[in-house]
Symmetry: C2
Subunit: 200 residues, 2 copies
């Protein structure tokens, strides 16, 4: 088989597939459930995708679940270049930085043009948080660490001395999307205060 | 907030979300790209889902990509109970064992009935390999370790003394789905023999 007979598009896609393996080395601050082991971005992305699949029946509006899955599967790829942005890090808790935009150009740019544009647009839609799908995806992205922290005696709340009010702010992303999930999140926060793993 | 006011369906789903965290501890034999670190099933499931998304434009037939993503995201959950089934292990290289069926009952059974049935049906469809979506998902599941082994001087082919003929058999799952991908896989196998990382 002549290498020249291989689809050039496929060769670009294979290079991309190899490149994104690096997501497995990007560590988050949050730890696995009932665990002391930090989660990596690939595991995190997988978990959010399954959560979205499972929880989409609680969405308050009709939802394009395929779009949500695409968002969640690729949302952290920019961190291969830009590193994990930790939400309780005051210096770098914003999203869609110039660094992340460059990362998106480089990483999605490895794909054939049309696909590169499609995935970059999906990532930008996620970051802009304007569409219902982007908001629902964001809700999943905040729900997982909440559950992890609650399972780990406060996890990063304790580790970084995060107070109740700050957690309320960060978790103010569910009401947009699902009253059921929002209601549950409020109860987890309340219980965390009551059990003393989250300071008021 | 009274705990009794939380949706019982949601509480079941949250228990499932916590349970499947265990997938992150199930180690595969195959290693990450250019690496000595074994991949876990959560990372693997994420990678296959992105691969399917990216490579679905090479599908020879119309494809329900949402179905494929669902399959790939959940295909290994049974391994939480049944353990990883290694393809080069002669004693346990079959799929859909009684053990895996019990695992599917238990794990998907944590979800609300309707969802449990839907996900178990998707898993069974994947395992039966009759539909085009199941075949395409299987193709992704075989492509990733091929690429990993080729990047790791033969990886598990070397480690378990696997010969060219056996790899051809195992990789005989792409022609069904994509002539482009199949052609590429043949070329990777040929090159692996030529470079001496796969014995003929
Ligand atoms: Ca992130």
């Amino acid at each position: 088989i002549m290498e020249s007979s291989i689809s050039p598009d496929l060769l670009q896609q294979i290079a991309f597939i190899k490149e994104i393996d690096k997501l497995k080395y990007i560590e988050r601050r949050t730890k696995l459930f009932n665990s002391n082991r930090r989660e990596n971005d690939a595991e995190h992305s997988w978990h959010l995708a399954v959560m979205a699949l499972i929880l989409s029946n609680h969405a308050d509006q009709p939802i394009d679940i395929l779009k949500v899955l695409k968002m969640l599967l690729i949302h952290d790829l920019v961190e291969i270049d830009a590193g994990d942005t930790f939400i309780f890090d005051a210096a770098k808790n914003h999203t869609n930085t110039a660094e992340e935009s460059l990362a998106a150009d480089r990483i999605f740019g490895m794909l054939p043009d049309e696909q590169a544009e499609e995935l970059k647009a999906i990532w930008e839609e996620f970051e802009a948080r304007q569409t219902y799908e982007a908001k629902f995806a964001r809700s999943m992205d905040r729900l997982e660490p909440l559950l992890q922290n609650a399972s780990n005696q406060g996890g990063t709340w304790q580790e970084y001395n995060v107070q109740h009010q700050k957690v309320l702010e960060i978790q103010n992303v569910h009401a947009c999307c699902s009253t059921t999930i929002d209601h549950y999140v409020q109860s987890v926060i309340e219980q965390s205060v009551q059990s003393g793993i989250l300071k008021k």
